[in-house]
């Protein structure tokens, strides 16, 4: 399912060489979720929230809760 919506979508739009997976050289198109979908009971998957999305390294969306968390955790260097 995850492969379908990531590499599958990229492949369908002829961009599998540029995005669709997290590999060196590809665009930094990322989504941060509040929980590991493989580590929770499947009933909980639907409750997962997207906290942060990046398109080519630039922030597109940030959950207000993640702003607070990231503020605390942010430690340059």
């Amino acid at each position: 399912m995850l492969a379908c919506y990531t590499m599958g979508g990229a492949y369908a739009s002829f961009s599998e060489g540029k995005t669709g997976s997290i590999e060196t050289g590809k665009a930094a198109d990322l989504a941060v979720l509040d929980r590991n979908l493989f580590a929770v009971p499947k009933e909980e998957i639907a409750k997962a929230r997207v906290l942060w999305t990046l398109l080519a390294g630039r922030e597109v969306y940030r959950d207000p809760a993640f702003v607070r968390a990231e503020g605390k955790l942010h430690s340059p260097g």
């Binding site: 590499m7 990229a10 590999e23 990046l54």
Partner: protein, 227 residues
């Protein structure tokens, strides 16, 4: 080439060459710092060669490192923004390679019905929309799932009873992509007064079989052709 003649000379050259190679190789071990580093995450790469990682480094919009945190090394410089994800999951961005952007946006401004709605919820939504938009000559919208009604048809009587004073035009969930003059569309929108004469049966269904059955233009924010 002269230096290949004496073995001592070539050994010296080889040593010098090796030194140059080592120097040249150094930048590979000391990469330029990244703009952004995500660490302590559950990074699901969707890359068969390395399914999981703990850290990702990004420079100039591109991924420059995927791996474990202890391999970040010189990617973390004084100006690198480091985000500790505390175990949160990182996925590649999702791709919707089939999206009806304009039509979807237009739909949000109409009587918006969607999958999972049952008969009562649909009718209540239509009724409320009509009450909230008294100036619109047509109640227009769509997104109703076919199984919500017997025979995939809300029927004229039901829509007439829900909105007695105006025509109602509701595309079903599966009609989004069809143009009004499409001959491919097999699904029927639901209609009420003023339009059910179009199919000659008066049953509220309007098969999309030709130009003569175009969607009504009146009262639509985008004209007669959504998307």
């Amino acid at each position: 080439m002269p230096w290949t003649k004496g073995s001592g000379r070539s050994a010296t050259v080889a040593a010098a060459l090796a030194g140059v190679l080592l120097l040249a190789a150094r930048p590979a071990h000391r990469p330029a710092p990244a703009d952004l580093v995500l660490k302590n995450g559950a990074v699901y790469t969707v890359d068969a060669a390395r399914r999981w990682a703990g850290a990702v480094a990004i420079r100039s919009g591109r991924i420059v490192y995927v791996g474990e945190e202890d391999g970040l090394g010189a990617f973390v410089g004084p100006r690198t923004r480091v985000v500790d994800l505390a175990g949160k999951m990182v996925l590649p961005g999702f791709h919707d390679s089939h999206v009806h952007l304009v039509e979807g946006g237009v739909g949000l401004g109409e009587c918006y019905l969607t999958d999972g709605m049952g008969k009562e919820e649909i009718l209540a939504t239509v009724k409320k929309y009509a009450a909230d938009h008294p100036g619109e000559p047509w109640v227009r919208g769509g997104g109703w799932p076919l199984p919500a009604f017997p025979g995939a048809n809300p029927g004229r009587e039901l829509l007439d009873a829900t909105v007695p004073d105006r025509p109602v035009f509701l595309r079903s969930l599966y009609q989004g992509a069809d143009r009004p003059d499409s001959r491919r569309g097999a699904f029927a929108p639901a209609l009420s007064p003023g339009e059910h004469r179009a199919n000659g049966r008066g049953d509220g269904l309007r098969q999309r079989l030709g130009r003569d059955l175009d969607e009504p233009a009146g009262g639509h924010p985008g004209g007669g052709h959504p998307a």
